[in-house]
Amino acid sequence: MNQDKIIVHIDRDLEDLIPVFLDNRVKDIENLKSAVTVNDYDKLRSIGHNLKGVGGGYGFAMITDLGADIEAAAKVNDIKTINELINSLADYLERVEIVYQ
């Protein structure tokens, strides 16, 4: 797996909010994995929908894109794609490095 850091520039005014925001995304990954084990597509779609709505606003456009893909895949019960997207999200969160400006 590529270990290069992904640099994201974030508005300094949001600095206090970012740790909580990223913690919540880690929780999202756990919830997504749990939903996959029981084929809970409604929950998968809902989490994907929320990721899509909130990621870009904080400056993480990738989270919005992955959320939109998870939502779309959940609508057609595509569990294989959902698993790939969850891994991509986890990988992104591992590698993201924030530069406040």
């Binding site: 909580v20 925001f21 929908h49 929320n50 709505g53 909130v54 990621g55 606003g57 904080y58 919005t64």
Partner: protein
């Protein structure tokens, strides 16, 4: 004043069941100078609304949805501004929210600048319609067209500049004229409105400029005239396009010299009157056709304002319909009714050839006939059929009335002009002029009598 200072006292309520969204939007709006409070459900939001100037709510939430919250808020205050956010850009949701009176519908992810601009825009409109005790406080609107128009009108109100208002019949030209007067330094002095099309040509001159005693047959006393009556204030010349050419030149002279000479007088009197004129006609065309003096036209049209038709400002139909329902309820001491969503859809999509005047008639008819609290689509359809679409202008109505009266008098007198003129209180020359204006031939009435 810095922009942030402007909104320091504006408390916004943000409603979303996602704490990350609440934190983000709170941060943005606090930075922009607003005071922000939050709620994680529609139910919680209801208790926090008092004191808030605007609500921003997510559409899909557990428990009470954003749409239900919007309806709850508008039960008490139909004009309260609500901005709806949705993660799904579904047009039916946006349409429904708009019809329920939502001020703006934004799709997530929301952009910071877009959100702040929308909030400021909505607050500006709300301030104009509800909170601002100054300009145009009686004008109900939410549309950008009206906001732009009122901003322009407000900017010229406190000056002496001549204003020209164009727009179809029933769009509210006189209301704008009055708002301009009320916002000017002339507000303590008279605002006098005169419909140039409703007064016979021979009377309009003395009506506007006055006359001396004995100036013409029937001038038994001295008459001051509206220019002098409006001294220090505003004279609203409605339907200026109907003013006869012979009088146009006299009006032009008054505007240039700022003094009037009453009919039959050798003296002139200085007047300090601001002129606001209005017409439903296309005066550019009238000028080209030689029916309206070009020099007067440009003298009047220093600041042109155009009143949009109701169909062009259909965003305003819900707030206007609610306003007129409330007014009807108060005037008739009855409980206020509501339009059902499909009835409101129908109102919004109607063509409204009679503009606001027609809307008032439809609302009053619906409120009168409706036996329940909710006005149905079928009743709205009936009301729109029953209320005449082509509402006549005052001049058209007066002309028709005058013609009917002349016909009656000619019938009674069997077409005897001298007797008819005596009954009508006019001399024969004036009476003949009236007959000519209405294309009436007294001979026809004599012929009918003989046959």
């Amino acid at each position: 004043m810095e922009e942030g200072q402007t909104y320091r006292n504006y408390r916004l309520l943000i409603v979303d069941d996602d704490n990350d969204v609440l934190s983000l939007l709170s941060s943005w709006l606090t930075q922009a100078g607003f005071e922000v409070i939050t709620a994680t459900s529609g139910e919680e939001a209801i208790s926090k609304i008092p004191g808030a100037k605007l609500v921003i709510t997510d559409l899909y939430m557990n428990g009470m949805s954003g749409m239900q919250l919007l309806s709850e808020i508008h039960k008490d205050n139909p004009l309260f501004p609500v901005i709806m956010l949705s993660g799904q850009a579904q047009i039916p949701d946006a349409i429904k929210a708009t019809h329920l009176g939502c001020s703006a519908f934004l799709t997530k992810p929301v952009e910071q600048d877009n959100l702040i601009n929308q909030v400021k825009h909505v607050l500006r409109l709300t301030r104009d319609t509800a909170a601002d005790n100054g300009f145009a406080k009686n004008i109900v609107y939410r549309s950008k067209q009206m906001a732009d128009l009122l901003e322009l009108a407000k900017s010229v109100a406190d000056s002496n500049v001549t204003v020209y208002i164009s727009g179809a019949t029933g769009t509210g030209k006189e209301i704008i004229a009055k708002a301009i007067h009320e916002a000017s330094s002339r507000r303590a002095n008279p605002f006098i409105a005169v419909n140039c099309g409703a007064i016979p040509e021979q009377l309009l001159e003395s009506e506007l400029f006055g006359h001396e005693k004995g100036a013409f047959t029937g001038a038994n006393t001295r008459h001051e005239g509206l220019f002098q009556a409006a001294n220090g204030g505003t004279l609203f010349l409605d339907e200026i396009g109907d003013m006869p050419l012979s009088l146009q030149v006299k009006l032009l002279r008054v505007l240039q010299d700022l003094e009037v000479r009453p009919v039959g007088s050798v003296k002139t009197f200085p007047v300090d009157v601001r002129i606001i004129s209005a017409t439903h006609q296309d005066l550019d065309k009238a000028v080209k056709a030689g029916e309206f003096r070009e020099d007067l036209f440009y003298r009047l049209k220093v600041i042109p304002l155009h009143m949009p038709s109701l169909a062009d400002r259909c965003d305003d139909v819900p707030v206007l319909a609610e306003y007129f329902l409330e007014k009807y309820a108060k005037q008739n001491n009855k409980k206020k009714k509501h339009f059902s969503p499909d009835a409101m859809d129908y109102l919004i999509s109607s063509s409204w050839p009679g503009n606001i005047r027609q809307l008032i008639n439809v609302v009053d008819l619906c409120a009168t006939l409706c036996k329940t609290n909710t006005i149905s689509l079928s009743l709205v359809k009936t009301a729109l059929q029953d209320v005449p679409k082509e509402i006549q202008t005052l001049k058209e109505t007066k002309d028709a009335c005058e013609k009917n009266y002349l016909i009656s008098v000619l019938r009674i007198t069997s077409g005897h002009v001298a007797n008819a003129a005596r009954i009508a209180g006019r001399n024969r020359t004036e009476f003949y002029k009236l007959l000519n204006q209405h294309n009436l031939d007294p001979g026809q009435f004599r012929f009918k009598k003989e046959s």
